[in-house]
Symmetry: C2
Subunit: 271 residues, 2 copies
Amino acid sequence: MKFTDMLQHCWDVNQSLLCVGLDPDPKRFPKQFESNKHAILDFCWDIVKSTGDLVCAFKPQIAYFASSGAEDQLKELIARIHGEYPEVPVILDAKRGDIGSTAKHYAKEAFERFGADCVTLSPYMGFDSVEPYLEYPDKGAFILCRTSNKGGDDFQMLDCGGQPLYHAVAKKVEQWNTTGQLGLVIGGTYPKELASVRALTPELNFLVPGIGAQGGDINACVQSGMNAQKTGMVINSSRAILYASSGEDFKEKARAVAMQTRDAINAARGL
Amino acid sequence: MKFTDMLQHCWDVNQSLLCVGLDPDPKRFPKQFESNKHAILDFCWDIVKSTGDLVCAFKPQIAYFASSGAEDQLKELIARIHGEYPEVPVILDAKRGDIGSTAKHYAKEAFERFGADCVTLSPYMGFDSVEPYLEYPDKGAFILCRTSNKGGDDFQMLDCGGQPLYHAVAKKVEQWNTTGQLGLVIGGTYPKELASVRALTPELNFLVPGIGAQGGDINACVQSGMNAQKTGMVINSSRAILYASSGEDFKEKARAVAMQTRDAINAARGL
């Protein structure tokens, strides 16, 4: 199934736009994971099992696995998600961006080695840095547009002939999106900017980080970013869910925060 | 030793601005590497031993290792380079770019796990995506400025208030470079643009891909990019050296092309 169809299906069956970001930081794990060689996998899998019916996607962040040399655990985690929750797409957050010949290898890493359904990419090197990912027709990619961090202003807000750079990126990605595989990453901390990109690109799907630990307001974010069908968004929360509790009740607490977040998003959609 | 001092020292002792890029593609290896489980490591190590006295740096491209699940071979390769050629810095070409909390993990991956002396980074997410790498005072980072690929024009050439975006990036990186750890990635295929960035940032070091297989002219590239000391450049060639021959003589041919390239660079410097 194509990534966008998979996402549409998961929005529908789980009635959720929430994505749980899997950023496993062993320093923040509950005590019970101490001296567990597969702590990263086991912790993430506990989170997945606690939230799998509440989400439209999972988004593992590859840096957290790579810093611990835990590529095998990432691979196993994605395989388990696909086995147990076949309706839930997995977005590998990697933000790659390189020349075509190198991008082919990153695409192979994400889609063939790890089995992800979608990746995040950086736009800075232009279309030939994105093209190799499109050669996998069932896979998707979200391109960085307006990011939720402080430094996001440094270049994304530069005036490029009467429009900010991130608008130029949004328009280009819409042009590139002839196959329907592309979407945009837009931080949830800037609702007005989210609304401006929604107006420019009514059809593109948005991956929206920045709610939860990064402080974005859910109501403003959803109303600014949703499309005419009241979907079109994959709203990510990572740390607020993963580390809702550092005690033995971390699974229950993670589920409770995920449910609360899903419900707040749905309320903002008017469901 | 700080990365920039290491680079300066290596420019001097090897009298070379040449960097050999290690982009190991098993499909292009000579026959003798067939059914070798450590072909990536063994091939790269053969190239390193054939060129180690001719270079100012080695630049492994992480995508080529990651697509084959060969992280352990990358780690071993860098350790061997440091053991056998302690004067030669290793630049891990990764082009990472992510929010601070994630960038910390990528920095840990590059510097602690793999032991690289320097990384390449993307500027799109701004200063807080670069800052965590600077917390390792002996390490360096080259930030993408003007890239040598076709799609490099898509955004880097956009007019931002009378200057192209890549000039805005160059100026910001110079501001960020209070500790001397930063440099710029500028393609060798655009000598005029290289000269324009050298004029803007006389002190920054440039990592320059795009000669060799990508077709850049060495003479124009060196004369446009070198600093007042006739250094300031790390001129990368990957495929033209690695795959100079697909036969049993690949090591000799790689050495011959590397020597030719080093000499052409030195001639252009007027040495």
